[in-house]
């Protein structure tokens, strides 16, 4: 019954490891979910070879949105920007280890949307990024 609120999600929500900002950073992007006001900002440092050397997120929102941001940021450190561009919805769901209805899916995918808009250098994040 507590599927959605698995311990790992509550843990990442209450005690995130990667909450914060990077100053200076190479990439920074922020967006919110207009339905519920969840907000996520992600800062990245990228080295000359195109590898993410450090990452942080900040923002506010529900346990799902904040835990998935923490898990996502953790997972991209050490990855190449090209690999980050390939991340998709299923990667997030695998990280969270839960099934989500359409409304909560938006919460879970907000951080990926922000991350991808950032690495693609877009002005605006779109849902197509996380299909």
């Amino acid at each position: 019954m507590d599927d959605l609120y698995r311990e790992v999600i509550i843990e990442h929500y209450k005690n995130p490891s990667y909450r914060g900002h990077l100053d200076p950073h190479d990439i920074s992007f922020a967006d919110n979910n207009p339905l519920c006001g969840d907000h996520i900002q992600i800062d990245l440092r990228v080295d000359e070879s195109g590898k993410v050397t450090d990452a942080r997120f900040d923002g506010h929102g529900c346990a799902i949105s904040q835990a998935s941001a923490d898990l996502l940021v953790e997972s991209v450190i050490g990855k190449s920007v090209e690999d980050v561009k390939k991340l998709n919805k299923q990667d997030i769901l695998d990280m969270l280890g839960i099934e989500l209805g359409p409304v909560r899916l938006k919460c879970a995918l907000l951080s990926l949307k922000v991350l991808k808009a950032g690495v693609y250098g877009l002005c605006e994040a779109s849902d197509e990024l996380v299909e």
Binding site: I10, C36, I64
Partner: protein, 408 residues
């Protein structure tokens, strides 16, 4: 006489719905939209079974009957809010469209750059954005009556704003977040003394209170059927005849005209002038049935029952450590309890409550500036109507304790 709630609940088939096997719905989201009694569902069903035809244009029996039903509903709605003339009721899609109608017609005909429009900090987006759009287009100035810490309007600041001779004051009669019932008569009187026209957002007041537009002396009053036991897709704008008569039309098309030439038209009289195209006919019949239903019960009783439930809910919610309820005390508000719960996002609260079938809303409830004012991104909102029970409030409270457990 209090209401026989058990009997009233039987009027609403959906209240017996199980959202999962063995889990009955506990519907605490009536502020978003109310449930519909059988009388309303059947009235619309019956319309489609026996009367369906387009209105106005036909001379055949069905068209005549449908037209009569559409107009009868208008008469009922007028009576329900004590409008003196049914022609003062314009059918719209909802409150949002009613307010936009005023913004697009009256305001664009009467306001010019530099004119002042007064709103409040507790408005729903539907009574903010139309005025933002007007401000961007016309250079109209916007000022806001502040909301106090207790969730009341700061009338002293309002009075000082009035010294700047606003042309329009548009405000909500009852807040959909704080539940605050604003002193509408006083606000309108002060506006009139300053020479301003008034628009009242009645989306939450008409369903829950006895509203008398004549006694209030409101110039415009907007509301939605779906929040008062009626169907979605239809709402109303009350306007004083003299204002409506002088206003330019809204949408152009069929029914709103008297005569059309290739290069010109003459608009119809009120209310047809504002009702272009085929309207929501079955919905108007449902709207009329909703008004009959509420009238049959008595709005005084509806309000008294909701007051009792709200008082109980506030008492029980405030007992829970970490819960903070926003808005004034029960005597100054309608059936709304918006709250935060320490460390848990409203989305998560709502999701966990949903497991027990408890339907509440989480978010900014289309009142983002108000939430910003209180320094919170979102709240969880439980709201009550004539079918709500103390038992449902108890379930809500139990549910919040479960949330606490999940989040440790």
């Amino acid at each position: 006489m209090t209401l026989d709630i058990a009997r009233i609940r039987q009027d609403f088939p959906i209240l017996n719905r199980e959202v999962r096997p063995g889990v009955k719905v506990v519907y605490l989201d009536s502020t978003a939209t109310s449930q519909k009694p059988l009388a309303v569902i059947e009235a619309m069903n019956d319309f489609y079974h026996r009367f369906n035809a387009n209105i106005h244009r036909g001379v055949h029996t069905l068209a005549e009957e449908a037209t009569a039903m559409y107009e009868q509903a208008r008469v009922k709605i007028a009576k329900f809010i004590n409008a003196r003339n049914p022609h003062e009721i314009i059918y719209t899609r909802n409150t949002t469209e009613s307010i936009n109608l005023v913004a697009y017609t009256w305001a664009r005909a009467n306001l010019k750059s530099g004119d002042l429009v007064i709103l409040t900090e507790m408005e729903h987006h539907s009574n903010l954005v139309p005025w933002h759009m007007l401000a961007a287009e016309r250079g109209v100035q916007l000022e806001f009556i502040p909301v106090t810490e207790n969730g009341l309007l700061d009338l002293e600041t309002y009075k000082s704003l009035l010294a700047r001779t606003p042309k329009l004051v548009s405000f909500t009669h009852m807040s959909n977040v704080l539940g605050t019932i604003n002193p509408a008569a006083e606000i309108i009187k002060l506006a009139h003394d300053a020479g301003a026209i008034t628009v009242v957002d009645g989306a939450q007041s008409v369903p829950h209170l006895k509203v008398d537009v004549h006694a209030l002396d409101a110039d415009f009053y907007a509301f939605s059927a779906h929040k008062m036991c009626g169907p979605t897709g239809i709402g109303a704008l009350y306007g004083k005849s003299a204002l409506l008569d002088a206003m330019p039309p809204f949408l152009g098309g069929g029914d709103m005209i008297k005569e059309v030439k290739l290069r010109s038209f003459r608009p119809n009289t009120v209310p047809a002038k504002f009702e272009a195209g085929t309207p929501a006919i079955a919905e108007s019949v449902g709207f009329g049935a909703a008004v009959d239903y509420l009238t049959g019960i008595g709005m005084d009783k509806v309000a008294a029952h909701e007051h009792e439930i709200t008082e109980y809910a506030l008492e029980r919610l405030e007992e829970i450590p970490g819960v903070k309820v926003f808005g004034p005390s029960a005597d100054k508000k309608g059936g709304v309890a918006s709250f935060t719960f320490d460390g848990v996002h409203p989305h998560d609260v709502a999701q966990i409550l949903d497991r027990d079938g408890i339907a509440v809303r989480a978010g900014h409830h289309c009142a983002q500036p108000l939430h910003e004012k209180f320094g919170i991104p979102a709240t969880t909102r439980a709201s009550f109507y004539l079918y709500s029970t103390k038992d449902e409030v108890d379930k809500l409270v139990e549910g919040i304790y479960k949330v606490k457990k999940v989040f440790g």
